[in-house]
Symmetry: C2
Subunit: 377 residues, 2 copies
């Protein structure tokens, strides 16, 4: 028998009226109208600020959606891991910045292959040993020095180390130093535009110091990349970045909605939902849906129900494959009913899904593969 018969049946749904309500659940459902408005809005913000937009593809992991962003004006996309970049490059995306450092000769070889395959490949490095591993491949590589601007996750730790890495790059004629990256992941979800702006200002001061050290070491810094959905306004105001890397704005999630509220940074619509079906409704206080730990992220806030008519109903996890939805006062819930959930944290939610079911209104318009799903290597 076929391993995924419900997917073979999906093509027949495309274009049929009401087909949104026949998508097999749990499913990642994309409201294309909202997605397209989000893409246009972020591009307009970047254009107005004179910033290049390089959306982070770790949110959608899809070559199809990356292409939509590039067609709208993005200069390319970011990827978090080599495997993510390989998956998108294999599907024709030709401009990718790898935003995490890598380690080891085998991975350096993969980076070299990527650089030879797509002219627009560039990657970060944060240690002289990383430079040596890349240089040993003999491949031409375009490099960005990752600078720790306060997160402490990756990046050179101080200006001396920044200068050392720059000098190491300059020693190899096949390596090109493009500039620097500074990413403050923890700032993105801070509540309040002023709090985010203050954190960004501190981080940009650290980044400016690193840039000065690199220039003093003889390095060129033309690209200054970083930032995310939550800090766009502050990133633009600081004026240090040449390029920004927001990702979640295309889909949004509850975590960003709670943090950004009515700030300009929050002016994006929820476009990605996880559709679920009530599979048991025998309990008087709640019903059970078919989306659980394996369909939704659990690291952020709990998912919430998208339909305002279900006000008062709350979602709780109910094991690997199920969720509990408390019965709302206003509407009875029955076995077979379908519900849309707003995920708590969009990136790890989408990484649990092989497909994005793209709808316009209640019509399924396309089934989009999540090309880099699981591509964490």
């Amino acid at each position: 028998m076929d391993a995924r018969p419900h997917l073979a049946a999906a093509e027949a749904l495309i274009g049929r009226p009401g087909s949104r309500h026949a998508i097999p659940t749990p499913a990642a459902v994309l409201d294309l109208d909202a997605f397209e408005r989000n893409v246009a809005r972020m591009q307009a913000r970047a254009d107005a600020a004179g910033l290049a937009l390089r959306p982070h593809a770790k949110s959608h992991k899809s070559a199809t959606l990356a292409r939509r962003q590039i067609e709208a004006g993005a200069v390319g996309v970011c990827c978090a891991k080599l495997a993510e970049a390989e998956a998108l490059a294999a599907e024709g995306i030709g401009a990718i910045l790898l935003t995490s450092p890598i380690a080891g000769a085998a991975n350096a070889g993969r980076a070299a292959a990527l650089s030879r395959a797509i002219p627009g490949f560039r990657m970060v490095v944060d240690h002289v040993d990383g430079v040596a591993e890349l240089a040993a491949t003999g491949a031409p590589l375009q490099l960005v020095i990752d600078v720790d601007v306060g997160l402490g996750r990756t990046g050179v730790h101080d200006p001396d180390q920044a200068a050392d890495v720059a000098r190491a790059i300059l020693r190899h004629p096949q390596l090109t130093l493009l500039g620097v990256q500074g990413y403050g992941g923890q700032w993105q979800h801070m509540k309040g535009a002023n709090a985010r702006a203050a954190a960004v200002a501190d981080g940009m001061a650290r980044l400016a110091t690193a840039i000065a050290a690199i220039r003093e070491a003889g390095g060129r810094v033309e690209v200054v990349t970083g930032g995310g959905t939550g800090t766009f306004a502050a990133d633009a105001a600081q004026g240090l970045f040449s390029e920004v890397q927001p990702g979640s704005y295309a889909f949004m999630d509850r975590d960003y909605r709670d943090a950004l509220g009515e700030d300009p940074d929050g002016a994006f619509e929820q476009s990605l939902f996880v559709a679920a079906t009530v599979i048991s409704a025998n309990h008087p206080q709640w019903v059970t849906v078919d989306a659980g730990l394996k369909a939704l992220s659990t690291d952020g806030p709990l998912p919430v129900l998208a339909d305002p008519a279900l006000d008062g109903a709350a979602f709780r996890f109910f094991g690997d494959e199920h969720g509990m939805v408390t019965r709302p006062a206003a509407r009875a819930l029955h076995r077979g009913d379908r519900l849309d959930l707003i995920p708590g944290h969009i990136d790890p939610t989408l990484d649990r899904h092989d497909l994005i079911w793209a709808v316009r209104g209640d019509v399924l318009e396309a089934v989009i593969p999540v090309d880099a799903r699981g591509a964490s290597q």
Copy 2:
């Protein structure tokens, strides 16, 4: 270019000395010796108790590993979702119990196709409407009435409903009533064998009442299935089950280790690890590894380091694709070092991985596909 070049390279590693240390990370790494001891130990426990063993495949989602369990004496496996069952049936597993109710005509059609494709397919049902949907397919189906034994997630809610569902099944000659299921998911992770035994005793009383009602309605109850890794001793002692459904024992995780301690139910070894690599070590207090929210479950306790030589080092999540490992006192950690993590909760961890890298000692012996990864539909 190839979408997953590191996987194409993996086959060359098989059988090579030290190849365990060349597996691309983050990776789900299975210690085959420990896995085989776990499988043999649970089979011996079931045999000694006179119980049929039907391991839950939601833990491993792999036809290869299901076959190992069946070869060791299991009567078949359990699946949580239709798509999980379809994926394993497509790879030749012929005896599957679907342990969650389904809803809707489309899904009933998929169940009918499964029943026609593999003679050993059986499934639970917990509502007369579910029986009607299955009956409408015209397919011969072997059914088990799911009974809520206290979890409140799925199952008939009281003896009257159990009798109603039994009568609905008996009305259709192509439907066969095999028996009942009672699963207490919340009991599995209770600390202390006595606490688990008391909870099981309460639940078994509810299950016995449902069985009596079904028999009074004219239904046969030959199969009594349920239970899990944490409650095996209590399940066997109660004597009501004919068949048990443990899953996690094959791999184990930190959550079960913490709950079961030195109880007989905890007498299984950690066999599944997530291997990670240090990709940045610039910070004085910690290093950054390449396994984060997309490689490990976040719903249970935090992962812990497997190597006792790293005593004192703690893992924390550090975003989608990274983890923080605090520097231990006894050993320096460097860029490029590899670490094995014990996952917090094994089932959702494994569902983030496409492949299981099966090792014996430090040699990669096989690369096993996680056939039903993401198969939540």
